[in-house]
Amino acid sequence: MNVRAQGCVTGSEIAPRTVRRENGQREVFCGLTGIVWLHRKIQDAFFLVVGSRTCAHLIQSAAGVMIFAEPRFATAIMEERDLAGLTDANDELDRIVTQLIARRPDVRLLFLVGSCPSEVIKLDLSRAALRLSRTFSPAVRILHYSGSGIETTFTQGEDACLASLVSVLPPAEANEDQLLIVGSLADVVEDQFVRMFEALGIARVQFLPPRKSTVLPAVGPKTRFLLAQPFLADTARALEDRGARRLAAPFPLGVEGTTAWLRAAADAFGVISTVFERVTAPYRARAERALVRYRETLSGRRIFLFPDSQLEIPLARFLARELSMQLIEVGTPYLHREHLAEELKLLPADVALTEGQDVDRQLDRCRGARPDLVVCGLGLANPLEAEGMTTKWSIELVFTPIQGYEQVGDLAELFTRPLVRRAKLVA
């Protein structure tokens, strides 16, 4: 539909970069999908989507599995009468929340999650959260955010969720220097980073989201934060409003990204560079060793990334610089120029960047380019495989621990596997 190329200056020292902007059919998940990993991360939280049968169906389909135990998410499915009268809808919501809290006494934090239909009918979940908090506080804290597809794309749901959490973070002691890592990471990755920061001499490190809602990180003017994920625009703004300062850095993907990310913290906390070198060197060396084998397969291969999680630009930087892959097109649903500035400086100057999507046109370009590997969503993967292309499901990059030194090999392997597999199959 509307395609316009636009020059934009992403950093003072680099040439203007052309970004194609597309505004057609988007083949992406909505923000509700984040519940799939957020409910695993915050282990005493429950996510109640106020939406339609489609919302319920989306979450169970995106989770890819049937439910093995009663999960900590559900949908309050609105029906005809709820749409007609908002008073009724509020009464109904109160009834359902009461029922839910009685059923799940283990839940300490309840998110009311807005959806497309609840946004369109303007059901005010902020007021509902306040009203219900009066009833259930302090046993259960009730927050709200929107995961609707008209406002959020896939990982932006996590951004909205974390931004809502920022509002209830306790204030930090006035003179307490501390580091906050922002964005969901697998527990194993968090633990690795904690050990690393400890070795660097940065003692006070906290994480958002926390594993338990009862142990929230504190935030204040002496808080410096590092984004562990590239899709946290609103969360960062909310933290800045609380006085915290963002440390500009690339994202901790690959050896280079992880080192630069850690270095941003080290510099901010006055870690001297010899210490930084000494602490990180063995990890860097080990991660480099892990990459060698994969570089043999991936080097020189041409890759096309469809927009999905906003992780595309950091991933592309890693693939191009550490694995010598050739970037054909890098799509992102949304390009946050400030948070991605350090990444864009590292990205090859001639790469084709696309923000937004017109899926049919993008497929045309992909078919035309015949890349060696296509990173795309589950709706496109099998059809492209059937056309003879090799694909990597992008959602796996969100669900798999890929950040930090110890995961560098795993991350490279995710891109190698489809190519190795295709080479193996003769029938």
């Binding site: 998940f29 989306l58 890819g64 005809e80 009834r95 239909p117 008209i150 406002e151």
Partner: protein, 529 residues
């Protein structure tokens, strides 16, 4: 109460039903007024069914910023582009749940485009109805719009079939994402062919809009899945005087009844086909190896068509006892109530899987026949299970030929239902040899997926129980004497949970404070059937 708390849902929204029809067909395109997240539905088809093409659906993917502007124009642009790019023979237009709230009237907008193809509006009440209803309504609207123009004048008689011409029927109901529809169509088409009946059109699966226009050429309709085709078939009956089959050919008896019904409708002689029917189910069921199947308590849940058919096979062809029968499709509640009455049980009509789980736990069946959700419920409860119905899972699209319908379908069903029980028998042997050094009591049954079942080896010396132990009459203050506890452990562990519960219930009801070996056997005699 209107708003409903849903943890998991058996059926998607109605527009997913419309997608199942559109994706099953050829040469049809669906333009759906929907926000971006709704595109998740594509992966149902490309991943679960492993389709090699994207579903023929264009989503307008409007965003919040469009709501203040012109979403109607967005719809028109999307529809025009979809026509230009895909050149379909016909188009369906509609809105998803959110699309319907912005009241843009996709039908009117599409008409205004004046496309040179038929454009059919499917208006699906997203806040009242569900997936199967959406599929049925979409198929009906398509049939009405495309076959309608060739309908004979009201009151006119169907022309006689030309002398010597083979009878022809339509096969209606198979769709994308259907439970074994792909193989059922092959099986039934073959069966009809052996009866000397030609298939005029199979729809929606594989049909083009042009094919739908020819539906009237058939003498009658074979309705394989009333959930999808029931409404269209009754319209065809009214407009074209085409009678429809009522019997669903799942199971040996039902397949024979179906052959009789079809032969009558077509005016052909079915004797040879009935005599030559190649199914092993009746003999396998009579062979002495199957004796242990007798009276097995079976719980059945699924869409009504598959659940009712399964109950008949279970009771009449395998000698099971149907202890539970239910469906998630309220539209077909009457059929399930009638069948349940036949088996002398209460029907379960619900779309809440937690209620289904509670029902299974209470009924303590020895076999569960259900959807993928009941498979998980059964796993949790340590009960053998086979899948008989949608909602589908990637496993329900096997690489091999595996119909449910017809005589080969009966063979497939025998294997699919009996093998989990035979595994159960192996566990029995395992339990008998449990003191042998190679076996240990707490070992997981080998037919259960270890990932999803709580480990049974609770503590050294503790009685190992299947996961059903959670339902033990824990609030009762009965005590197990040590020797009774020891005796209980000699009972094969896959029935031990039931024995424990029954004994405790018996003790409670009879005021027994301490359960002895005698209480255990008194209870066993009491509950013997």
């Amino acid at each position: 109460m209107t708003m409903q708390l849903t943890v998991w849902t058996y059926e998607g929204p109605p527009h997913v039903g419309a997608m199942r029809v559109a994706t099953g067909m050829q040469g049809l395109h669906y333009v759906l007024h929907a926000p971006q997240g709704d595109t998740y539905a594509d992966l149902l088809f490309t991943m679960i069914e492993r389709r090699d093409r994207r579903p023929p659906v264009t989503y307008t993917t409007f965003a919040a910023r469009d709501l203040g502007g012109d979403t109607a124009e967005l719809f028109k642009t999307a529809a025009r582009n979809a026509y230009d790019r895909f050149r379909p023979q016909a188009m369906i237009v509609g809105a998803s749940c959110t699309g319907s709230l912005i009241q843009d009237d996709p039908g009117g907008l599409a008409r205004a485009l004046d496309l040179p193809i038929p454009v059919v509006t499917v208006d699906l009440p997203a806040y009242q109805r569900k997936e199967n209803w959406g599929a049925a309504e979409t198929f009906y609207q398509l049939v009405r719009a495309l076959a309608g123009p060739s309908a004979p004048a009201p009151g006119s008689k169907r022309p006689e079939r030309a002398a010597g011409a083979r009878p022809r029927c339509n096969v209606l109901g198979p769709s994308a994402l259907g439970f074994r529809h792909r193989d059922d169509v092959t099986e039934i088409t073959g069966l009809l062919g052996r009866l000397g009946i030609d298939v005029n059109v199979t729809a929606p699966m594989g049909a083009t809009p042009a094919d739908l226009a020819q539906l009237g050429d058939a003498d009658f309709n074979v309705v394989l899945y009333p959930e999808v085709a029931g409404q269209a078939a009754s319209w065809l009956q009214r407009m074209f005087g085409q009678p429809s089959t009522r019997t669903i050919p799942i199971g040996v008896s039902a397949t024979r009844d179906f052959i009789d019904e079809v032969a009558t409708l077509a005016g052909v002689d079915a004797t040879a086909v009935l005599a030559g029917c190649a199914t092993r189910l009746p003999w396998y069921s009579r062979s002495v190896d199957s004796t242990y199947l007798t009276g097995k308590r079976v719980f059945i849940f699924g869409d009504t068509t598959h659940a009712v058919a399964a109950a008949r096979i279970a009771a009449d062809e395998l000698g099971f006892k149907v202890v539970g029968l239910g469906t998630y499709s309220r539209e077909f509640g009457r059929e399930i109530r009638d069948a349940a009455k036949h088996y002398g049980i209460e029907p379960l009509i619900t779309d809440d899987y937690l209620e289904v789980e509670a029902n299974v736990a209470a009924l303590q069946p020895e076999l569960v026949l259900g959807t993928q959700m009941e498979r998980h419920i059964a796993k949790r409860l340590g009960i053998p299970c086979a899948v008989i119905s949608a909602p589908v899972h990637v496993q329900d699209f096997p690489a091999r030929y595996a119909p449910q319908m017809g005589f080969e379908g009966a063979n497939v069903i025998f294997d699919t239902w009996v093998h989990p029980l035979m595994m159960g028998l192996e566990e029995h042997l395992l339990a008998m040899f449990k003191d042998d050094f190679e076996f240990k009591d707490g070992a997981l049954p080998s037919h259960l997926d270890v990932r999803d079942v709580a480990p049974m080896d609770v503590a050294p010396g503790a009685p190992a129980e299947p996961a059903t132990e959670v339902d033990s009459v824990a609030d009762a203050a009965v005590i197990w004497a040590a020797d009774a506890e020891q005796e209980l452990r000699k009972i094969p562990f896959f029935v031990r949970g039931k024995a424990r519960r029954n004994t405790e219930r018996f003790a409670n009801e009879n005021g027994v404070a301490t359960i002895t070996i005698e209480t255990l056997y008194d209870a066993k005699a009491h509950y013997a059937r």
